[in-house]
Symmetry: D2
Subunit: 377 residues, 4 copies
Amino acid sequence: MSKSRIRIGMVGGGETAFIGAVHRIAMRIDDAFELVAGALDAEPARGRRFAATLGIAPERAYDSYLDMLAAEAARADGIEAVAIVTPNFLHFPVAKAALEAGLHVICEKPMTVTLEEAEELAALVQASGKQFFLTHTYTGYPMIRQMREMVAAGEIGTLRRVEAEYLQDWLAAPVERTGAEGAVWRTDPKKAGAGGAIGDVGTHAYNLAAFVTGLEPDELLAELSAFVEGRRVDDDAAILMRYAGGAKGSILASQVLPGNGNNLSLRVYGDKGGLEWRQEAPEELWFTRLGEARQMLRRNGAGATGAAVAGSRVPAAHPEGYLEAFANLYRDAARAISGQTEGALVPGAPEGVAGLRFVEACLTSAQAGAVWVPLRP
Amino acid sequence: MSKSRIRIGMVGGGETAFIGAVHRIAMRIDDAFELVAGALDAEPARGRRFAATLGIAPERAYDSYLDMLAAEAARADGIEAVAIVTPNFLHFPVAKAALEAGLHVICEKPMTVTLEEAEELAALVQASGKQFFLTHTYTGYPMIRQMREMVAAGEIGTLRRVEAEYLQDWLAAPVERTGAEGAVWRTDPKKAGAGGAIGDVGTHAYNLAAFVTGLEPDELLAELSAFVEGRRVDDDAAILMRYAGGAKGSILASQVLPGNGNNLSLRVYGDKGGLEWRQEAPEELWFTRLGEARQMLRRNGAGATGAAVAGSRVPAAHPEGYLEAFANLYRDAARAISGQTEGALVPGAPEGVAGLRFVEACLTSAQAGAVWVPLRP
Amino acid sequence: MSKSRIRIGMVGGGETAFIGAVHRIAMRIDDAFELVAGALDAEPARGRRFAATLGIAPERAYDSYLDMLAAEAARADGIEAVAIVTPNFLHFPVAKAALEAGLHVICEKPMTVTLEEAEELAALVQASGKQFFLTHTYTGYPMIRQMREMVAAGEIGTLRRVEAEYLQDWLAAPVERTGAEGAVWRTDPKKAGAGGAIGDVGTHAYNLAAFVTGLEPDELLAELSAFVEGRRVDDDAAILMRYAGGAKGSILASQVLPGNGNNLSLRVYGDKGGLEWRQEAPEELWFTRLGEARQMLRRNGAGATGAAVAGSRVPAAHPEGYLEAFANLYRDAARAISGQTEGALVPGAPEGVAGLRFVEACLTSAQAGAVWVPLRP
Amino acid sequence: MSKSRIRIGMVGGGETAFIGAVHRIAMRIDDAFELVAGALDAEPARGRRFAATLGIAPERAYDSYLDMLAAEAARADGIEAVAIVTPNFLHFPVAKAALEAGLHVICEKPMTVTLEEAEELAALVQASGKQFFLTHTYTGYPMIRQMREMVAAGEIGTLRRVEAEYLQDWLAAPVERTGAEGAVWRTDPKKAGAGGAIGDVGTHAYNLAAFVTGLEPDELLAELSAFVEGRRVDDDAAILMRYAGGAKGSILASQVLPGNGNNLSLRVYGDKGGLEWRQEAPEELWFTRLGEARQMLRRNGAGATGAAVAGSRVPAAHPEGYLEAFANLYRDAARAISGQTEGALVPGAPEGVAGLRFVEACLTSAQAGAVWVPLRP
């Protein structure tokens, strides 16, 4: 087999954007994509300068995503896919235009800013026959995929309780007032969506719980707070979940709790066992069968399941991390685009819709004083 | 100063009872009490046999607590205090009788089975002039006391979020059907009270959060579940808290989550810092000032506060544990009884009432479908 | 069975001595001893005052251990055993006199200051028919006892490597110059013995390795250092061990390494598995079978061996610690004195002799420039 | 600045080789190299097939490294550097030929199989004016670089003790007999060099200690063992170090201790503080100032030093790992090759020579029965 990489263009991801760089590294790790075009920056000149440093040919560094889609469509070697790493409010129009241009889409979460947009986009994906991937990074961790496989295999029995937390502290002070990177648009409901912490990190936690357990939500109740004075969106959310079939859960999402860096965790308990994982020590998965000793499973080590082995590049105890988890999403996307797999593990449009539905349900619940509201597909 | 120990009698705590033995060891560690009398067992003969092995004189091994109170009152060297370690439903009558007999009371939690009883008992304590101590064990841990002092000193600023969990797995299967030690009465609403996990472990978590933060509760919402088929009380509880002043909190209490032994934890976050503690590693207190590195404070080590030093018997890094935490309650009780301190750190009647009020509010909330209910003194 | 406690007297252990208080608490936890006499302090008046606070009758608070032994021998209710908690150089004369007075002895380590004394004392124990217990505290930890039983049961196969460390930092600065508690005599070769760290903490590590593995030493090599200027004894020791049968080992003992509180650890590896334990988290024992996941065994939890269960007072996950480990030594001693057990797990005279032989071999090796020297019984 | 990548060829690193894949990912992460040529496999046809999957043009997939060097020299766009990822015994001839062909060299460790070769190669590097990089992976970890900067800045004072361990268990059984990947040549003295564990992992530990502390070795003593029957090289090594200036150290290197995956650790203690790091949790660096609480420093977090920030791609608490550490070596190499930095942090020829000198000293010591031997530059 000789090498054939998927040609991709990027929208957003300029020099100072954290997540754009992450996407580019993730593409390169397994070398299945070739970044050949970009509309990287709201300031075109700056975007072109930066594109050059990335090895993008000058004529393929575009002033806008619309320019890019038009020009690339006209090339024989035009892009096959688009990576969208803009602020949230642009996800919808860019993805829509890309799909309409016949391209596959790899999109940062959240899929869109409103549920209405998400549903429209999902329908468009369905109709387009193109692939849509939503980079819920944490689903790329091998031990998360192992957790999913172990749950599905019945290793912990009938599920009882699902506890997901995503705690940070970088918004603990009113950093948006000082113009801090990322904080300004993330706390602006127009640019980020009506949900603050609930959208930015809560959706990751919600998605991860769903990815691992496969449980269908039934109802939720959300208590949203804005602890920092003057903040226009929630920065802290405590959510109770009721799942179809009787399992219960909590999601705690906050960006204002000092001492928490990127403290995402997931604990799942059934009648036969329990599984516990923390993003800050992602190589370890604690597994306990009821009545037995706790076991520390390691990526690619003893007891590794198929997805965990497949998602590993190096042997156990040679730590892989966040970038490799991200690279797993790109690798899966490449395989799916190439038709090599029936179904990728990467979240897609249905998960994107589910995320927005979750955010809207949380807002509905919170506005009514934190009451139970339905959350059904 | 020569030695003068407080003479104490015990009610309950027979040979197979776990908590009775714990109380006796806790008394002995600092040698401030002398166990001289007991009505240890519902089966008098068995209780007398066991009393002999504890060094209790035969004539002071009583058939019932009423006998004990009467006979001891008649002795010049009669008991000065009573330790109550019976199943929950006996706490009230025994404590009442003991107070009426002019004795100090050291009572296992919960104070009583109903709020009404608790309030009656609290009034009686007030009127009696005697001391009443409620052995919420975990308040005896030096790092919990340090946490309290650090919060009070403003080390973490204005409180935002209080997360308390108390997770176990010993009731994960229907062990009450096989007559397992402690499981039978604990899952019998008549003997344990209407709350199951909420009463047995939830009250510890609630008490600990209150002890450490000093926050006044305002409202709560409780989602109670009985995951084990046929169980007559809740075995799992997820509670959201709203505190006066705007802080928020969660309490998760469960006895059916595999892999959790005695997993009580408390995390408290303010606008300036965070504190995190786990009962299974009780010597460590994680402290982070916003923007600084995480610090691991150790009992009696660098940065130890007064209460933590006072609650220590051995140097840092020579682990103290559960029994020493318990002993701190007895030591404090002894000092208070002896008039050596103005106020002990040991919870008393007000905390007992607060615990029952919490349980009743949880039940009220749950019965209405998990809605917000007031929780005010 | 009615209560009958062993009457014991204490030598040393005055008000400011750390280890005396530990022995007294350890006695009380299981209530098998009654402290009725003492020669607690080199300053008799201070010792008598302190004895009163311990509940020792005034006439049994003696000015010297010789007085105590003589007077108690004359009493019908005289002491049956002596606890020796003096500085090291007094262990030998006090133990000798006590044995000659027909008493059992519970002695702090090291057994004596020289090997010659230790051998003389061991012979005396043998001849006396009395019991001699050496309080190598760490052998009392349930998980250490479980480790020993697992090794003996072949759980990790043929032993390859034994790594013991005992690291502290309390002598990292020249605290003996400022008269700090315990530092003055411990750094005085006349009072502590020629070995510094090697005697004070190295012997614990050596003893623990021997206790757990049962391996016979063959040769050792010791590199001793005194890092603090002006210090008269070693404060840091790195030792290589060769065991009969081919296993290898290291012992690292130091009191001058910042960040180490009481960091004793033991790791034992065989051809089939490995076991790892740390004193600062003494409830956990890591066990790995070759090719399987790491397991975290807990005291009194799943997989607990007989000795670990027997050495536990409370259920798994209710932390026991240093004082309970110490209490296990006293409990075992009481049983052995009472003839209830064939053999106690507590180290005795042979282990005391072995400890001194180890120290002398280390000094011999070090003085010759850190060369291999034999270490055989 | 537009993109200009360094053209590189690879020798070794065929389809089944672990380390070749690691080098290729490491190159791609920061995209500073372009892999354009290769002699990847001892079986040329297999190597060519594999080269195609890597995107190497067919005419640049060579049958041997000699072919590659000759052909590339003749191209205008020929390679500028060579990555050597063969079994150890080929490092020397390939590196020599590459340098003579005027190419920069990035070479797996060990530099060569014998000290004599290493010294010859170092002289050649010196004379060539080309850059030589030795991929001691672990020096690429940001927290190791931070540790080095903190030591150099005097944060822990005058060094006392340096403890390095590198423990694995993948050779715990005689896997070389079953032809296991990597085990056959690594246990063959002709292909791997006379040192087994001492060369394979011991040199990493030795290098890491030197990298972090900057201490000059003075003498060492090595106890080498082959625990697995029939093994022709050592599989376990315990080494004592004496450094110029009086610091002491140990290196423990073993590949036969069950439960150890890739357990490399480094602890460095001075008179003012201590630093502790473990490769399996590489994002954390424990730092204690004498008398203060332990602090957990995180990559790119509070207190990060310049090199740690520079070596990070993502924010603190988004774990980076082994591949990013490796990528840091390549990134540094690229900068050095491009003349953008005065000196790279990547080890080079002097460290390669030091590694071989260390191995030879260990063998000399061990053959004489584990005695002290000099180890000086």
